[in-house]
Symmetry: C2
Subunit: 365 residues, 2 copies
C-alpha cells in the first residue's frame, strides 16, 4: 500500500496526503530540522502550534549523541523527544561526507571518527537502516553518496552508481513495521545524469523518492532549471522530496516543479542569527532602524511572536543575546515556512497556485 | 493606603496579599529575575504558568540596554516585555557597585561608565527614581549603598548613613501614580547596626521595607541568625523583602523569620548550568548516572518538563548545549521555587508551616 494520496494538482504542482505510522501529513510540507532530537529552541507543543506535522532527525548526530542505547531505552526517537507526529530520518551520509574530515569511503561504506570523542564508526547502507530502525522514524532514507556541488562529472557518475548499489543494499535490510523508505536520486547539475539516475533509483520499490545533491553550492538558477526538468519525472504516485532546500522562493519553485516535501535548517538557523522572514521581505533585526520600531515583526503573521512583541523588543533581545530571542525568532520563522506551504496547498486546491507564486516573487526573499 | 494585607501568621511566618497597580500578589512570594526585560529563556505566558505573579527588573541593565527612550516609546517595561502582572525594579545601586569597575562614589551618587560602550552615567537617588518611573514598575526600590560582605564596621556604618540620606532623597522625588516605594535596610552582619538602621529607615514613609546586604559572602548560619533577630522588627503592617536570597532552604528560613518576598537568580542561572532543584534533592544533570534514566526529573512535580521529558533526554540536551535544555530546566526550577512558596503560604494558613519547614530540611538543598 502506498502511503501517499494525490488530492489535487495544478500544472506540475501537487497537493497530497502522506499516511504514515504516526499520522497524516498534508503536502506540500516543510519539515523543520531536529538535529539532536530537538528542533533548536522549540518544544514539541510549539512545533504543533506552528503547524509542523513532520520533523527531520539526523541519523549521524543521534547515533553519536545520545547514542542508540539511550534511544532504544526510550523506545525510539518519538518518545525520546516527546514528538507524537511523524519523523523522517536522513541516512547519515550527507553529514559523514560534510562533517567528518577523517571519513574513508569504500564500496562497503564510510569509516569515520566521531568529532566528539574520536570513536570509530562504520556507516554502511545496512548500518544506516539499522540505526534508523532503532530511531523508529516513519520514513527512513536510503544511504547515498552525495558528492560536492563542484564535483567533476566523473565523480558524480561514480557517486550515482554507488548510490544505486547502496540503495539496493538499503532495501535488502528488512524494514521495521510501519517504516516507509525513500530512495535518493543524485546526478549533480547534469540533466542527462539526473534523468539516468531517476530511471535507476525509481526502478527500485521505494515508498517515495528524493532529489539529493541540490543546494550544495551550484547556482540557484541552475537548480531551478534542473528542477523544472526532473522533479515531475519522479513517479507521480509517490511523494517527492527535495532534500536540504531552501529559501521560501526555493520552496515555491520546487512546488511549482512538482515537489511535495522539503527540509532545511534555514528558518531555524537564520532565526538564531537574527534573520527573519516576513510578508514584507527579510528583516535583519540588528539594524538600527528597528531600535524604536514598536510595530509587530510581520503585521500579516498570527504567530505568538508577532502578536505579543515589538520589533524593538526583539532587537533588544537579539542585542543582549537572550535565549528568548532565539525562541521567538525561531517560532516566527517556522510559522512563516509552515504558513507558506499551507497557503500553497490551499492555492493548488483552488487552482490559483500560479497566481500565489507570482505574487510571492515580488519583494520576497 | 497600604498595599499590603496580612492574612494569616504562624509564629513569625506570615501569609499576606500585596495589592499593586498591575494586580495582587499573594505572599510569601518568590520573584524571578528578569534582568534585561526577560526572565532568561522564559516567555511571559510560561511565567504565568509556573505561578509567577511578580518579576524583578534591573534598573541598571535596562537603563543601559535598551535604554529609557525605547522603554518610554513602549509605555513602560510591562508593555516592552509583554508582562501584565506586577514588576519590582531595583535601584541600580547593587549592579553599579558590583559590575562597574570605574564607579566613583560621592555623596551625590555614583558616576560610572557603561561596560558596553563606555558612555558615562550618573546614578543618584533622584536619577534612580526617574529611571524607575520610566520603567513604570509597581514597586520601586530606594537607591542604597550596599557594601561588600567583608567590609569593615566603619565602612558598613558609612554606607548605612549614606543609605539613610539617599532614602530620604529618593522619597523626595514625586512618585508616579500607582508606584509603591520600598526602603532598604543595611548594616552588614552587625546586629546592633541592623537594628539601628531599621529604626532609621522604617521611620520614613515607605510602602515596604527590604533587607539588603545579605547573601553577599557572609556565612549562611550568620545570615540565618541575623534574620531571626531582625526580620520581625520590620513594620508588621508592611511587606518585608529579603533581597537577592536565595536557596530553597534560605527561603524557608526567611519565611520562618517573617520575610514576605524574595528574589534570586539562583533558580534561573543554576538551571542553565544544569543544576536542578527537586523534591529528592539537587540533580546535577550532567552526571553519568542520568544517561539512561528514563524517569521524570522530579516525580513530585507537575511542570511541563517533568510531565513531558526524561532525565536522560534532559542530560542529552544539556550535553549538546541545546537551547531547549535552558528552557526546560528554567521552567522546572522556577516551578519548584514558586511551588515552594505556594506550599509555605498554604501551610501558614493551615498552621503547619513549622512542620513543612522541618520536613523540608531533610535532604534538601
Amino acid at each position: 500500500m502506498t502511503p501517499f494520496t494525490l488530492e489535487a494538482t495544478q500544472g506540475k504542482a501537487r497537493a497530497g496526503r502522506l499516511r504514515l505510522a504516526h499520522g497524516d501529513v498534508p503536502t506540500p510540507i516543510f519539515m523543520p530540522v531536529g538535529t539532536y532530537g530537538t528542533v533548536k529552541a522549540m518544544t514539541p507543543r510549539e512545533l504543533e502550534g506552528v503547524g509542523a506535522r513532520i520533523v527531520l532527525g539526523n541519523t549521524y548526530h543521534l547515533w553519536l549523541r545520545p547514542g542508540l542505547e539511550v534511544v532504544a531505552k526510550h523506545g525510539g526517537l518519538h518518545k525520546l523527544m516527546g514528538w507524537q507526529h511523524p519523523i523522517l530520518t536522513d541516512s547519515g551520509g550527507f553529514q559523514v561526507f560534510s562533517l567528518s574530515q577523517l571519513s574513508k569511503l569504500s564500496e562497503e561504506g564510510v569509516v569515520f571518527r566521531s568529532p566528539i570523542d574520536g570513536t570509530q564508526y562504520n556507516l554502511t547502507p545496512e548500518q544506516s537502516m539499522l540505526v534508523q530502525a532503532t530511531l523508529g522514524s516513519d520514513i527512513a532514507m536510503a544511504f547515498d553518496h552525495c558528492p560536492p556541488g563542484d564535483a567533476p562529472r566523473e565523480l558524480v557518475q561514480d557517486a550515482m552508481a554507488r548510490t544505486t548499489r547502496w540503495a539496493a543494499r538499503s532495501l535488502a535490510v528488512p524494514a521495521p513495521a510501519g517504516q516507509a523508505r525513500f530512495g535518493i536520486v543524485q546526478g549533480g547539475t547534469h540533466l542527462d545524469l539526473r534523468l539516468e539516475h531517476i530511471d535507476a533509483i525509481c526502478a527500485l520499490p521505494f515508498d517515495g523518492f528524493a532529489l539529493g545533491g541540490f543546494s550544495v553550492g551550484e547556482p540557484i538558477p541552475l537548480m531551478y532549471e534542473l528542477l523544472d526538468q526532473v522533479a515531475h519525472r519522479l513517479p507521480a504516485d509517490r511523494p517527492r522530496y527535495l532534500m536540504g532546500v531552501g529559501t521560501p522562493a526555493d520552496l515555491i519553485h520546487g512546488i511549482r516543479a512538482g515537489i511535495d516535501m522539503f527540509d532545511c535548517v534555514m528558518p531555524t538557523r537564520n532565526a538564531r542569527n537574527g534573520m527573519l522572514f516576513t510578508s514584507e521581505g527579510k528583516v535583519v533585526i540588528s539594524h538600527a532602524r528597528y531600535r524604536d520600531d514598536t510595530g509587530p515583526l510581520d503585521p500579516a503573521c498570527e504567530c505568538e511572536t508577532c502578536r505579543g512583541f515589538t520589533r524593538s523588543y526583539l532587537r533588544h533581545l537579539h542585542q543582549c543575546k537572550e535565549i528568548l530571542f532565539a525562541r521567538l525568532a525561531t517560532l516566527h520563522n517556522l510559522s512563516y515556512y509552515l504558513d507558506l506551504v499551507r497557503r500553497c496547498r490551499r492555492a493548488i486546491f483552488e487552482g490559483r497556485f500560479d497566481e500565489l507564486a507570482d505574487t510571492f516573487k515580488v519583494g520576497q526573499p
